[in-house]
């Protein structure tokens, strides 16, 4: 279950809102950070911490696609293949990730280091092709550059 410090963190989030229900989304993020994804245990822990029905917690968690709904690698690559990025070669990057790391859409590398999610536009069209690595932004990508960048994430 959640550690004392994490529970305290959730308590603090709760205090910001008039009702516990309002704290559900941020609390789910905290749990995701701790458990790595929205596992049954993570959602149970949140339900307990906020005293909400488990069904409701799960319903809310599954409504949002940006929560992680299966175990993920240590680092999350979110690569855009929408129009601008596609025209400027994003598909080649997808092939590269597959050949070099064995990464496919929604997949994770065998060593658990990276997971890949293919995105619809991350708002970086001026620097296409672009990606998010965890919360860091990278643009003007080439195969070479992406290889270098990934090397920096162990």
């Amino acid at each position: 279950m959640l550690s004392e410090t994490v529970l305290k963190e959730i308590e603090e989030i709760k205090a910001k809102y008039p009702s516990a229900r309002s704290a559900l989304l941020p609390a789910l993020y905290v749990a995701q950070r701790e458990f790595g994804w929205q596992s049954e245990k993570a959602m149970q822990a949140v339900a307990q911490a906020l005293n909400l029905p488990e069904a409701e917690v799960r319903g809310t968690a599954t409504f949002y696609s940006m929560y992680k709904h299966k175990p993920m690698g240590r680092h999350l690559i979110q690569l855009c293949t929408n129009v601008s990025c596609m025209i400027l070669g994003a598909e080649r990057l997808v092939d590269f990730l597959k050949n070099r790391y064995g990464l496919t859409q929604n997949g994770t590398t065998a060593d658990g280091r990276f997971s890949l999610v293919i995105m619809e536009c991350i708002g970086g069209c001026d620097m296409a092709p672009a990606m998010l690595l965890n919360t860091d932004f990278y643009g003007d990508l080439t195969e070479e550059k992406i290889g270098e960048i990934l090397g920096g994430y162990k």
Binding site: P53, A55, E56, R58, G59
Partner: protein, 670 residues
């Protein structure tokens, strides 16, 4: 009275209450606005977009389930535009709905089918989608087939409103489905099998278990009646086919918070036709019970009662009807001439608490006090009280709980006081007086040394502001609770554990001779028991035991004479439920085998004894007690285990119906 608003719907003048939605206002004028997600009595969510109407002056169509009436509004529910819109919605829904109407159990009462018919849609114009979700049917009560679901959220909302919180949407968009917390089967999700979700579902996605091929709505005869299995006495709608009960649904008016029944009320009817039913009168011959004719049985009964005379004891449960109770009392007092006649009520309630309880309206009440009671949907102890209060809280009412122990209901309360109940009531009284309530002198005196706790202050503030407060109290705390009504205008209701406790007391089944407890402890020579009394061993000292019940019980096996009686679903009469409402029980099916309604058996015996009782119209005497102060104390000797008691008076119903499945699961879990 709320302000009235005049408006026009489809050219019809309608007077509606201010704050009403268009969908409800239209209904007043007999106009149906198509809908899928609307639930009468609950706040609209505007999810299905089927209820769109045109309002003069508005550019776009509006949602009738959330739009409130306004003076002078001119509404068109049938414009070309809204009809096209609705047709589009149904077309979309049909693209992901199996077109199974020919074998679907819900045919005839399915909203989707009706609307598709209205809009002449044979098949969707969109590409057909099929999800192939797993069916949840591991329990015999509720079958969920998500492939039929139209995602209206009715089931989710009713389950949430009553506080069971089992269902929720999983995912988003067309691919989402209704599921339990971890997509586990209902039996692993804290479901109480009340079936509220069945009553709510507009299509075939949630249905009673074991309904398949047991007829469709148009095959059924519908009869309104009342459930007698616990202290709540809920309204039920009974469906019968070929003289058998096929299903039972909640029967309270649509929109009322009282529209709820529990699993016992919904599925207990299985026990109407069962091997455990007593089909013929039986008499003891040596070690065995032998079938006899009614004539012979009545003769034996008459003879034995006559010879035991005033040493006879009569005991009954309080889930018999007023008419039965009335004649039972007469049989004892006029034909047998004994004062020993008592009901199981005396185990948990005194006469005053049943006689002088107020009548209350759940939908009107805005503050509830629950003192010394632990109603629970999960344990099925007066579950409707628990569910209805929780629903009322969701609709804006407040709750104060007072209990010496932890209760699950306390977590839903605005103020929960844990501790001695009588003392807490005293503290609330004290706080009310401090707020200016006028108290009789004795009360002021009695409360002199009392200090109100912070919670008692809060409760008092809530009660002072309330328009129609109701105090639900354990009978043992009735007098203490009644004191509050000397200070403020509040209803006080003692809650019994049997459906017709108030009626049975009003009919005079209160002993002037030996009490129930004394009689079952060997105080009488002949004993006549009526209904499933919570007793499994023949009392010592009883020379002749008559057991009158619908099912074979431990006690009946030890009887000298067994008289088969009709079940409540086979009997006609009235009850007075815990809220003081007189409710009609209907004979939904003919009595099983040779069984007869209680009162008919009593009348026949009295005839046989030569002092026939005339059936007269029963009328409960209007009881009004003079308000007077009594000490803030708990009455002793009225403690029973509510769970054990409720299960014991329903033993035959539980053990000869699918409710047995619950018992077996409980056993397996231990």
């Amino acid at each position: 009275m709320a302000n009235m608003v005049k408006l026009k719907i489809d050219g019809k003048e309608i007077n509606a209450q201010e704050g009403m939605t268009l969908i409800d206002a239209a209904e007043l004028g007999g106009i149906h606005i198509p809908n899928l997600c609307y639930i009468k009595g609950m706040k609209g969510i505007g999810a299905c977009r089927l209820c769109m109407v045109d309002i003069e002056g508005s550019k776009t169509p509006m949602i009738a389930c959330t739009t409130k009436v306004k003076e002078g509004m001119n509404v068109n529910t049938q414009s070309e535009r809204v009809r096209e819109n609705r047709k589009f919605v149904i077309d979309l829904i049909l693209s992901m709905h199996p077109l199974d109407c020919m074998t679907c159990t819900k045919a005839g009462v399915c909203n989707l089918q009706n609307y598709a018919y209205d809009f002449e849609i044979k098949d969707s114009t969109f590409t057909r989608k099929k999800f192939g979700f797993a069916i949840d049917e591991g329990n015999p009560f509720v079958k969920r087939d998500p492939d039929y679901c139209v995602l209206c959220a009715r089931c989710v909302r009713v389950c949430k409103e009553q506080g069971t919180n089992v269902l929720e949407f999983l995912g988003r968009g067309v691919g989402s489905k209704v599921a339990t917390a971890n997509d586990k089967p209902l039996e692993e999700s804290g479901c109480t099998f009340c079936g509220s979700c069945i009553d709510a579902c507009p299509v075939n996605a949630i249905l009673e278990g074991e309904r398949w091929r047991r007829g469709r709505e148009w095959d059924y005869t519908k009869i309104k009646s009342v459930c007698l299995n616990c202290g709540n006495g809920c309204d039920i709608d009974v469906s019968t086919k070929d003289g058998e009960v096929v299903k039972i649904n909640a029967g309270a008016e649509k929109g009322s918070a009282e529209r709820y029944i529990c699993a016992i009320g919904r599925y207990g009817f299985d026990s109407v036709i069962s091997d455990a039913r007593i089909t013929y009168p039986l008499k003891r011959v040596g070690n065995a019970l032998k079938e006899v004719s009614w004539d012979e049985a009545l003769k034996i009964a008459a003879e034995k009662l006559k010879s035991a005379g005033k040493d006879t004891g009569f005991i009954s449960t309080a889930n018999i009807l007023n008419q039965d109770a009335f004649i039972f009392g007469k049989l004892a007092s006029e034909a047998v001439k004994t004062k020993n006649v008592d009901a199981t009520v005396s185990l948990y309630a005194d006469e005053d608490s049943m006689k002088y309880s107020d009548s209350a309206d759940m939908d009107e009440a805005d503050v509830f006090v629950v003192a010394g009671l632990n109603p629970s949907q999960w344990e099925r102890v007066t579950p409707a009280l628990d569910a209805v209060i929780r629903k009322r809280i969701q609709r804006g009412a407040k709750l104060i709980t007072i209990n010496a122990d932890d209760t699950r209901l306390a977590s839903a309360a605005n103020v929960s006081i844990k501790g001695d109940e009588a003392a807490a009531l005293g503290q609330i009284a004290k706080a009310l007086i401090a707020k200016g309530a006028k108290a009789p002198k004795e009360m002021e005196g009695a409360l002199q040394a009392v200090n109100a706790s912070e919670d008692a202050e809060k409760a008092a503030a809530m009660l002072t502001e309330a328009k129609s407060p109701v105090i639900f109290t354990a009978p043992s705390l009735f007098n203490a609770s009644k004191n509050i009504s000397l200070l403020i205008n509040t209803k006080v209701v003692a809650v019994p554990f049997e459906a017709n406790a108030r009626g049975v007391v009003a009919m005079g089944l209160i002993t002037e001779g030996k009490t129930y407890k004394e009689m079952v402890n060997g105080g009488v020579k002949a004993l006549y028991t009526v209904g499933e009394i919570p007793l499994s061993a023949r009392p010592k000292g009883v020379d002749f035991l008559i057991v009158q019940n619908s099912h074979m019980t431990e006690l009946a096996r030890q009887a000298d004479l067994v008289l088969p009686s009709a079940m409540p679903l086979e009997s006609e009469g009235t009850i007075i439920n815990y809220l003081g409402k007189v409710k009609q029980a209907a004979k939904t099916v003919e009595p099983f085998g040779e069984s007869r309604q209680h009162k008919d058996i009593f009348t026949a015996i009295s005839k046989e004894m030569g002092s026939p009782i005339k059936e007269s119209k029963v009328k409960a005497a209007e009881a009004k007690a003079k308000p007077k102060f009594s000490p803030f104390e708990k009455k002793q000797g009225l403690d029973i285990n509510p769970l054990e008691f409720t299960e014991s008076i329903n033993r035959s119903v539980i053990y000869s119906s699918r409710l047995l499945w619950l018992k077996e699961r409980e056993k397996a879990a231990v």
